[in-house]
Amino acid sequence: MILFYLFALLSVLGALGVLFLRNPIHGAMSLVGSFFSLAAVYVMMQAEFVAVIQVLVYAGAIMVLFLFVLMLLSLRDEGPSFIRWSVGKVLAVVIAFGIWAQLALVLGQHDPEALVPQIVSSGEEVDSIKLIGQLLFTEYLLPFEAISLLLLVAVIGAVVIAKRRYPGSSS
């Protein structure tokens, strides 16, 4: 239990780092730390499959992609990193706090465990990867195929958008 609070604190600190660190590369590294501590939280919630995916895809692939782009662009200092409009700053804080307060209010008024219908465990391991694979290729077969098509479209789209058009070449 103490470990849960420790990693929850670490992930919130990493998120705050993204918000406040001036250099985007430092922000990206702090986001990697936040994702890793979230993976630790998933392990503590007996969701090992999600934890592995979190480390492989998020902390591994997506954040490496972010860092690649940040280093490709080799940003110079762009002055103040927050928006200039001070009314907008206050408004942003009010909106974010409003969202959080609404969520906390809903959770505080109702016991969240009571919102969930209690399903009696069938004795199986809930997060076994074998079960996930079976479910993926039976009940979720159509979404699985659709998502593979989506990935193909994303790859082609990224290549088309990021392709450099040299002057003089027929585009």
């Binding site: 918000l19 986001l31 999600v50 465990s121 809930v126 997060d127 990224a158």
Partner: protein, 102 residues
């Protein structure tokens, strides 16, 4: 092993989501805004895992699988858009991108 109470997980998830919203609204660097969006997606994933654990069901895990794939596709396309924006304007400051503003 003791189960973590669902309420604590949801509070953590809402905190991460609000920090992501603040990042999107406050920062001016396009890539930092994009990272805040990833943070918000992660907060939603966390609440999915919490409910899946508490309902003892695998459907939440399947949803997370699909959310992560969509997030990966979104990151690829978004970063290539940011790359081509940088090529045309030589900056990542979103105040400079007023092409679609009236």
């Amino acid at each position: 092993m003791m189960q973590i109470p669902l309420g604590h997980i949801l509070v953590l998830s809402s905190l991460l989501f609000s920090i992501g919203v603040l990042g999107v609204l406050l920062r001016r660097n396009a890539i930092v805004i994009f990272m805040s969006i990833e943070l918000m997606l992660n907060a939603v994933n966390l609440s999915f895992v919490g409910f899946a654990q508490s309902m003892n069901s695998l459907n939440g895990v399947m949803f997370i699988f699909f959310i992560i794939v969509v997030a990966a596709a979104e990151a690829v396309v978004g970063l290539s858009i940011i790359l081509s924006l940088y090529r045309s304007r030589r900056t990542l400051n979103i105040d400079e991108f007023n092409l679609l503003r009236w």
